[in-house]
Symmetry: C2
Subunit: 98 residues, 2 copies
DNA sequence: AAAAGTGCTTTGTTTTTCAAAGTTAAATAA
DNA sequence: TTATTTAACTTTGAAAAACAAAGCACTTTT
């Protein structure tokens, strides 16, 4: 038998980062404020988790405008998709015995 | 839309506690040392996570003997089963859109 | 001009995690 | 019988992570 948790990605141990990724898998682009409201987070908390995901190159930032208002949105990268899928696969392997 | 991570159980944010539970769901009883080896943990680390799960009444301890050697084993409680299942359901809801 | 929104960064506290060492008690080896 | 080992912890302390709150730069709305 092998260690069932070894294949889980440390980055996704955080429920918040897990939530961000799960939202970005199904939405091509999501704004900072939408994430903030959906996940019920403070600005700083969200920003730092987004930063972690960005450092890992699991998400990408897009700074743009809606009209003349700044608007920052985020999207998942290919690497992010792969890593997230691998994590879910590892999770499934742990629990599929049910 | 509602917060997708709100229904995740904080206790299962930890990969280690998640691993313990996933093992206890499929095995009626597991020994301290078996858990330790499977999850590759130090005594103290495992003991403290087991303690957290016990405080929550998600697992139960059985102190016994193998021959005349002490042997501590752990099993999942009904409450533990329910909580774990609820957590997995919440996880699934987050990601089933895939 | 004042107030408010966006998207951060910085600061500092609290919480969590973890390894290492110490502990107790029994078992076995010397 | 003394020493060592194993099991299963507890305690200690340090490092890492999470988080809220405040500050900031910029722009828009009032």
């Amino acid at each position: 038998m092998k260690n069932p948790i070894a294949d889980l990605n440390k980055i996704f141990d955080s429920r918040i980062r897990l939530g961000v990724m799960s939202m970005l898998v199904v939405n091509d682009e999501i704004g900072f404020n939408d994430l903030k409201q959906m996940l019920e987070l403070t600005d700083g908390n969200l920003a730092s988790h987004l930063n972690t995901l960005e450092q890992a190159e699991f998400i990408k930032v897009h700074k743009g405008f809606i009209g003349r208002k700044t608007s920052t949105t985020y999207s998942i990268t290919e690497l992010g998709k792969q890593a997230f899928k691998a994590h879910l696969d590892a999770l499934e392997k742990m629990i599929k015995k049910l």
